[in-house]
Amino acid sequence: MAFITANWNPLGEAFYRKTELYEMCWNLRDGLRDCLVAAAPYGGPIALLREPHRRSPSSRPQLEIYSASGVSITSFPWKSGPVVQLGWTVSDELLCIQEDGSVLIYDVFGSFKRHFSMGQEVVQSQVLEAKVFHSPYGTGVAIVTGSSRFTLATNIDDLKLRRLPEVPGLRGRPSCWVVLTQDRQTKVLLSTGPELYILDNTSCTAVCPPGFGPQAGSIVHMSVSFSYKYLALFTDTGHVWTGSSHLQDKLSEVDTKKSTPPKQMVWCRRPKSQQPSVVLMWDRLLMVAGVCNDTIQFPMEDQCVLVGELDGVRIISSTNQELLQEVPLVCQDIFKIASMAPGALLLEAHREYEKSSQKADEYLREIKEQSMLGEAVRQCVEAAGHEYDTNTQKSLLRAASFGKCFLTDFSPDPFVSTCRELRVLNAVRESDVGLPLTYTQFKQMTLQVLIDRLVYRQFYPLAIEICRYLKIPDYQGVSRVLKHWASCKVQQKDLSDEAIARAVCVKVGDSPGVSYSHIAAKAYECGRTELAIKLLDFEARSGEQVPLLLKMKRSQLALSKAVESGDTDLVYTVVTYLKNEMNRGDFFMTLRNQPVALSLYRQFCKLQEQETLKDLYNQDDDHQELANYYVTASYREKRLDSRLSLLQSAVDEYNKAKNEFSAKATEDEMRLLRFQRKLDDEKGAGLLGLSLQATMEALLALGLHKQAEQLYRDFRVPDKRYWWLKLKSLAEKEEWEELEKFSKSKKSPIGYLAFVEVCMKCNNKYEAKKYVSKVTPEQKVKAHLAISDLEGAADVAIEHKNESEMAAVLSRCSASDRSLIDRLNRARASVAKK
């Protein structure tokens, strides 16, 4: 604890410290010599290609991938062409840029993803140098070819190659170059020795950095900062010029007194720091050169690789890994020797308190007097975040917690969240996970991305634990991890379908937001159709199952699932698919087993494809429906003979369906149609298409009694119907004599009250009266009432001694019928007495 400042090195006003991150787990026989090394920022994985220039097929170079702590992830012999450069994308995929301009992409486990080319002309001219860079648009690749031309791809996921203009006077490779992303434009800054050029899409401009005197010599190395804000140039005279990458301002110029160009030069600064500095590495020396013209020098024993980070530089050697960074201001405040910052005092107070010393109180008082306790707590919490050592973190957090006790209304949130986040960070920094993230990097990267990275590296249990611990909603947290886990699980070739399905089901259960169909799709992609079907069974929403089942050509199953889902659109999708995929016979057979789909398709056919409808019924031997179909069709037909032939087909089908009634009715209809046509031709009666009743009506209206009579007999029209019809017809035509004759032709099957009523309807009371006498005794009263003969009605009612009849008459009497009312009432009373 006391020695926390032991590894601090002052540079100007700032301090730099080198913290050990890991003892590397790897065991590299030859160290990092003769290796192409690429280490991804944000504690990403490390890729190593040994002896990249070896080309003999007998001994291929080995490509190895390690975690940041040196745990081997994969290794395999490099069988493709010679590699110029390795690099990592923002999503931790490895880019291998080959001499011929093709770029191969591998995932972190060494499985090949895809490849692309940097242009045809490169195959000829070869890639001399390549750089992988990151920008807001994603990961980009820049190359310079043997013909001294630059080609850029700003985003490899949306590949657009840009060939930059020629650089005047450049032969071979430039002495050094970098890629800059500025003002939403990607440019190349290059030096041909004395000259410095900016190369953009359209032009090549010579530039001169401010304050860069001609005496400085020619530029042999350059470097841009992580944020593309700063630029460092190293000249052959050993000077380091630093300034803004816009080349507007100069920051400093330091003489390193070194004549050889450094092997690597990397910016080392933290966001918002006022003191940017550059780290230079030679074979045995590491030098930090700052704005203040001062330097720090570290001797080095081993071959190293520098990795620029957001807030420092990681130094990877064959044995260990260190983080070189500017000490954060808050840590300086607290730990600087004899610091009187409130945080420092609070830490001291807590230390005394633990020793049960009363000095604790003195310190506390001092802070409180300045009313700086809040600030002190805040400082301790913040500093804890920046410390890598867990003991230091703990003592700072304890101090903060101690200080908090003396504060009222102090929000505990920053303290709590720092504690939680540190716990997560410490967990992922563990050597077997190997993500040496600083707090600043973690904040920049966000928790979401961290979980993604863990998932990507297949640390599923840890990812789930973190999600649960930080109480991330299931949708973004646990479920998402499970989804990835399951997608990965189904690819395990050594497990049986059954075992995988069970394992997936047990783990995933019904977590919200995990779609089994998604997992099944993955299984299908890996060629495991059976497994996919098993997994689909777990999918609760049957609608989700259908598209995949179709893709897997399990159309029958897809259809039944679609039907199950109750979503008719889905059923229809499958039906259309089947219609195009299958031959007609099979298609109909399939539908036959699915009544829901069948009726849906029938509905569609009724409107769109009448012929198909017929085929459908035919297939099913559904004679009844087929007959109905013909009947419907017959009504659409204008010409009589085709209409008749359709009806004949209907008759045949009805017979087949053993529906004699309908067959007979249809035959009758055919007979009627022929009859109507005959009469239409003869008399122009306009009967075609009328019902039997309407035909008879029309005939009677036309006075064609004989023909009507014929229909009556031929079609066995019930007597009642015919009598009603004739009665009405004659009355309407006011053929009263004819009517009387008709009434006497035989005993009326509809009785004679009907005659009375019909006559009254035609307002002929005189005629109506004629029939009253013929009415049956039960209806006599009604008949008399119908012709408004109250007296007559009353007589009959009294004669019948029927109370309800009397009441009926009474209800029709008006006040003027005094005597009648009296008579009725008397009769009623006498009936009631009995």
Binding site: T568, D569, Y572, S599, T632, F715
Partner: protein, 615 residues
């Protein structure tokens, strides 16, 4: 109104929100097609649209001219056409024809189709088939629910009935589920859902699925319980003549989308359109009354009105001023409405008090009771022979078949033959449809026993009859009306006087002759909080019943008002009589019912949708 509501009746939720939502979405969709455009509206969407957005609202959003879809070449000259239609293949095909005609003449226009309430894959398939898929943009106007009144919401989908129950086409089930989901998300969460019928079950499942997909919100429920019922559970009720005022008005004048057009015979002037809902104070008081009471009520009302007018006499200037400013307008309004309803009642009287109607009702009641069936059959025969009314005859035939569990083969043939003679052979198809639905069927030889059983049942005690019924209920699709009627006591004992002024049960809506089966089921299930004890009944109804407690089952016990607000969804339509019956039940038990129907139906609409003689 003679009977007063229970004082603790809960308040109904405010459904005008549904209208606002629909309007806002429509406006949004119209704005998606900026600039002047002509709007083509499907004929049966005109009235519902009118309830949501009037012409000026449409004009505000750059709708230039309005046209009704008429399946003819169009005359519009606008270069942007917007079609507001139901997802029907026929209409889509017509739009394709319009677009293709434009193409042929080299005319360039933009087309946008707005399907409501949703689009179907089949429609898009037609667009694709006709080669204009790329030329039109499509959208969905999620206008599922139209509040017709405070307690009536309609999906305005009359085709639901035929598509679902006759053609077995289940595409509307999801629509019903979505409608339920909308209500649930606005007025839920529902704590208990009951239902009966295959379609109800599917709609319920579709809704549950949508709930599972969406996010959960916890809020104070406004509607506590839901009852789903398929129309084919109870065909008897919609086939009976309606005698409650609102139902009668619907039967005679046809209420369309909550609005009725009274012709000159009512107004003795030119036709007027009248909105029939609770805003109409006069109507609100008579809508649920048996028609025999309506006249008395209206004349009383007229007298009251006269007295109110008479107050003017002997007023001084100041009183007169307040009278004019405060009361006169209301009185005038009431006066106008009163005279309309009196006119309507007179017109109804003229049509209905004739002998025929009384005999018709008598026959219906006999059928419901199962007495004097022979006489009923001859009445129906005469009805057919005299060509009284195509639909009415059909209605009586169906009623006969359902109540008698099918017709005797001899009757079946002869009645059908006579009907065909009267109205044409094309009704063979209609009969095929009716048979398919079980509305008009022939007794299978084995089933004649059931008739025997029902006759025996009247003689022997109920227990033995019950056993016999069990033995037969396993037989194929049949109505089992007689057994149901006995078990649920649907037909009150005849001979007792029934005072229609003071109804004692829901039977009053059918003059005391029959308690509607659908409403009786609802009453029973609510009373028992489920189907326990109704096993026999559900067996007779072909099962498919369910009762599910919602996720927040715990607070369903809580005695909040929402538990007494019950949403009843009729899949396949609902009649005004049923609504009246439910209102009565609500008053008796302190519930408030909200009726959601795929459409308001009655016997004519029901049967017309099953006709197949239109070519």
């Amino acid at each position: 109104m003679a009977h007063s509501a229970r004082r603790d009746s809960p308040e109904l939720p405010d459904f005008s929100l549904l209208k606002r939502l629909a309007r806002d979405q429509l406006v949004y969709l119209l704005e998606q097609l900026p600039g002047k455009k002509d709007l083509f509206i499907e004929a049966d969407l005109m009235s519902p649209l009118d309830r949501i957005a009037n012409v000026s609202t449409l004009k505000e959003h750059e709708v230039d001219k309005l046209y009704k879809v008429e399946y003819k070449p169009i005359t519009s000259t606008s270069d942007q056409l917007c079609f507001l239609i139901r997802p029907r293949i026929k209409t889509v095909k017509w739009i394709c024809d319009v677009a293709n005609a434009d193409k042929a003449t080299g005319k360039f226009r933009r087309y946008k189709i707005i399907f409501t309430p949703q689009k179907f894959y089949a429609c898009e398939a037609v667009l694709e088939e006709q080669g204009i898929f790329g030329d039109v943009t499509t959208d969905e106007w999620a206008f599922y629910l139209l509040p017709l009144d405070d307690d009536i919401i309609s999906l305005e989908l009359p085709e639901f009935f035929r598509d679902n129950f006759l053609a077995g086409d289940q595409r509307w089930v999801r629509t019903a589920g979505s409608a339920l989901h909308l209500l649930h998300s606005l007025y839920g969460p529902f704590s208990k859902v009951y239902g009966i019928g295959r379609c109800s079950k599917m709609a319920y499942e579709s809704w549950r699925e949508q709930v599972a997909e969406g996010e959960q919100r916890t809020r104070q429920a406004e509607i506590g319980r839901v009852f789903l019922i398929d129309r084919d559970v109870d065909f008897v009720t919609p086939l009976c003549s309606q005698v409650v005022y609102e139902g009668l008005v619907d039967d005679i004048f046809r209420i369309k989308c909550g609005c009725v057009e009274f012709g000159p015979d009512v107004t003795s002037d030119k036709s007027v359109k009248v909105m029939l809902n609770s805003q109409d104070k006069v109507f609100n008081e008579i809508r649920n009354e048996h028609f025999s009471n309506v006249f008395g009520f209206l004349s009383q009302k007229a007298r009251n009105l006269q007295t109110a007018y008479d107050k003017r006499r002997g007023m001084d200037i100041k009183q007169m001023k307040t009278f004019v400013s405060e009361e006169l307008k209301g009185l005038k309004q009431e006066h106008r409405l009163l005279s309309l309803h009196i006119g309507a009642s007179e017109s109804i009287m003229k049509k209905k008090t004739k002998q025929d109607f009384q005999e018709l009702l008598k026959t219906e009641h006999s059928l419901l009771e199962g007495f004097e069936i022979r006489e009923c059959i001859s009445f129906i025969e005469e009805h057919i022979n005299r060509q009284v009314s195509m639909i009415q005859s059909l209605r009586l035939l169906c009623l006969l078949s359902i109540t008698e569990n099918g017709l005797m083969p001899k009757d079946y043939r002869s009645l059908k033959a006579q009907y065909l003679q009267s109205y044409g052979v094309d009704h063979l198809l209609t009969f095929a449809n009716l048979r398919h639905l079980g509305l008009l069927v022939e007794q299978q030889p084995g089933e004649t026993l059931t008739v025997m059983e029902s006759k025996v049942g009247k003689l022997v005690n109920d227990k033995t009859a019950g056993k016999l019924t069990d033995a037969f209920s396993s037989l194929a699709r049949k109505s089992n009306f007689r057994a149901l009627s006995r078990r649920l006591n649907l037909v009150p004992k005849s001979g007792e006087e029934y005072d229609l002024r003071v109804p004692r049960d829901m039977a009053y809506i059918f003059s005391g002759a029959y308690v509607p089966l659908s409403c009786k089921l609802i009453e029973q299930v609510l009373e028992r909080d489920g189907w326990t004890g109704l096993e026999e009944v559900t067996k007779l109804l072909n099962g498919n019943e369910f009762a599910v407690t919602g996720s927040n089952g715990a607070d369903s016990k809580a005695k909040n008002d929402a538990q007494r607000i019950i949403l009843v969804m009729f899949l396949g339509g609902c009649t005004f009589s049923e609504i009246s019956a439910l209102r009565f039940l609500g008053r008796e038990k302190g519930y408030k019912f909200i009726v959601v129907a795929t459409a308001i139906t009655n016997s004519s609409r029901l049967l017309e949708s099953l006709l197949d003689n239109h070519v």
